[in-house]
Symmetry: C2
């Protein structure tokens, strides 16, 4: 079942040389005569020799592989991120090892231990909705493991971070709703302790306040699993819809929440955008084909993945310890479509 690889020893034996000579010849060392080099290199080529990366890893104490921990892969935002990560890693000769937390802090911790014990050179992470304790991340980071956070970042850990301007994204989206005549705007969101949740809700509240609309905390809802479980979205939606003063619009702060809200609204027969406006953060490229076409805040996920990986590689390959870290803030994109524009003509007709 083993699939035997050629080693440097095989070459040495076959050519009557020592392994050191072979090694040096292959690395084109000046200490080896041109003839010997040619001999060795041609033979190596012939028998299809490739240095054993594991032996190299052992010697050089690096594995040329990076770990990625996300809540789930089957999510357009994160799969686009991974796409970006893979593209940069690939061109730099690194492997990408993926792990899913499934929004569980336990699983995240397990993945973390697992990946670090497998000698990865660095880590790219968006923390789970459940994680409260970041001390292990911090410990690893302080011990010298290069980590780059993206999307859901950890403020208390000093390292590179890549995010979008969540505040602006949510602010603009909320403003857009207000401009379009919506007044009672609910928020469906990730758990509160997530960095992006805080930012996005802050943007949402800022837009309301600036427009003279009171912030109503009872219509700000949280989904513990970020919409990964359909039932939790249904739960909060039910709660919003049964209110006497029913909201006339919803802003959702994550991919699965946005589509989850739409799903429930359609199931309940509530017309979007007329009875209820809907806008949300989303990265699926099907939003324009939905019924109604969904207005979304789109994040440059692929670029985020690329950027995070470049920063990580910079950390990994730096000779001396880096103490100056940066937080890259990218702009999100507001895509206006049908789900947020009430038809004024119809209203006129009705009145």
């Amino acid at each position: 079942m083993k699939f035997e690889a050629v080693t440097i020893k095989d070459i040495a034996k076959a050519l009557g040389l020592s392994t050191s000579t072979v090694s040096r010849a292959l690395r084109d060392s000046y200490e080896i005569s041109p003839e010997t080099k040619k001999l060795v290199q041609e033979y190596a080529e012939k028998i299809n020799y490739h240095p054993n990366p594991i032996a190299l890893s052992l010697k050089e104490r690096r594995s040329r592989s990076i770990g990625v921990i996300v809540c789930e892969i089957a999510n357009s935002f994160f799969s686009q991120i991974i796409n970006g990560v893979e593209s940069i890693a690939y061109t730099n000769g690194y492997n990408v090892i993926i792990a899913q937390s499934r929004e569980s802090a336990d699983r995240e911790m397990m993945n973390l231990q697992y990946l670090t014990s497998r000698s990865i050179d660095g880590l790219i992470v968006s923390v789970s909705t459940e994680t409260k304790d970041f001390s292990y991340f911090k410990e690893l980071s302080e011990k010298g493991l290069p980590i780059v956070f993206f999307d859901r970042i950890v403020d208390e850990i000093n390292t590179h971070k890549v995010i979008v301007d969540s505040h602006a994204g949510a602010y603009d989206a909320t403003m857009h709703l207000i401009m379009n005549g919506y007044r009672k705007i609910a928020a469906v969101s990730n758990p509160e302790l997530l960095s992006i949740t805080r930012e996005r809700l802050a943007g949402y509240k800022a837009a309301l306040s600036e427009s003279g609309i009171p912030v109503d905390d009872t219509i700000i809802k949280f989904c513990q699993h970020g919409g990964m479980i359909a039932a939790e979205v249904e739960e909060v939606m039910k709660d919003l819809l049964k209110r006497k003063q029913r909201p006339d619009a919803i802003i959702a702060t994550a991919d699965k929440l946005t589509t989850g809200c739409l799903r429930i609204l359609k199931a309940k027969g509530i017309s979007v955008p007329d009875e209820m406006g809907l806008i949300g953060f989303s990265n699926t490229d099907l939003t324009e084909l939905l019924d109604p076409p969904l207005s979304v805040v789109r994040q440059p996920a692929f670029e985020m993945g690329e950027l995070a990986t470049n920063l990580l590689l910079q950390l990994i390959e730096s000779k001396r310890p880096i103490t100056e870290f940066e937080t890259k803030v990218l702009a999100s994109e507001l895509l206006i479509r049908g789900s947020t524009s009430k038809k004024p003509i119809k209203q006129a007709e009705f009145s």
Copy 2:
């Protein structure tokens, strides 16, 4: 920048023992006295010792990691597959290393060489649309590298495979279109050399023939990049739509093709399902929210990923070479929604 790990030597030195004793104590060997064991194990626990996986890999000649090559990650079908792969790999202590071919045979080959040179224990692959030459796969497989193919399989290589019943899926979908009154049914498909393309088109043709509808090869279209590039779908759609005898329905045989077709139809203002019926293979969970809700053939992607991984691990961990291979065929699911039902009332009105 390095992040120092404790080794067995550190323990040996601290406790005044030899490395072999420490190693054995940690592995709970009978040759070590209970006291020594306790001493070593407690000390190891205390200083948080973890065996170096790279050293183990070198010694045991296995890396406990598996490679996955798909055309792209940011595709619901494949990300669901990877989800399944990861879940099984994780519970069995394996890493998942991912690579994307982006439908390029060259890139696929590079990934292949790269992954195998990185000493993976096994490989899970869905080949690219472009690949014509499978000899390298074959060579690797025959040399003893465990490989499991899924979705786009390679007939000429004898190993485990996981697919859905593509013939039945396409047959049922086509039959469904015929039942609903569509007569001139076009097919938008992946390149012809792909196993799934052949199967699906065969199913499509069988349904037509059985229903007494002549097969028209001029309305069977192929997209070289499987819809990964938007322009190619537009191209074939243009061709289909400008025909004198315009098709009244389309069956698309892959995820991106299905949504791609819908996108074009909407852009051209062609009403689905009335002017044009549409059904296709797809795994996005948004299809029911689309306008119109899309009838689809859905594959059990997560289960396929799980199954493929279980088969692969079985191959990897088998003591003796396996010569009997199986091809697991799973059933696809036909989800009927709005995109395939003309409204008969309207037709009555018009006539």
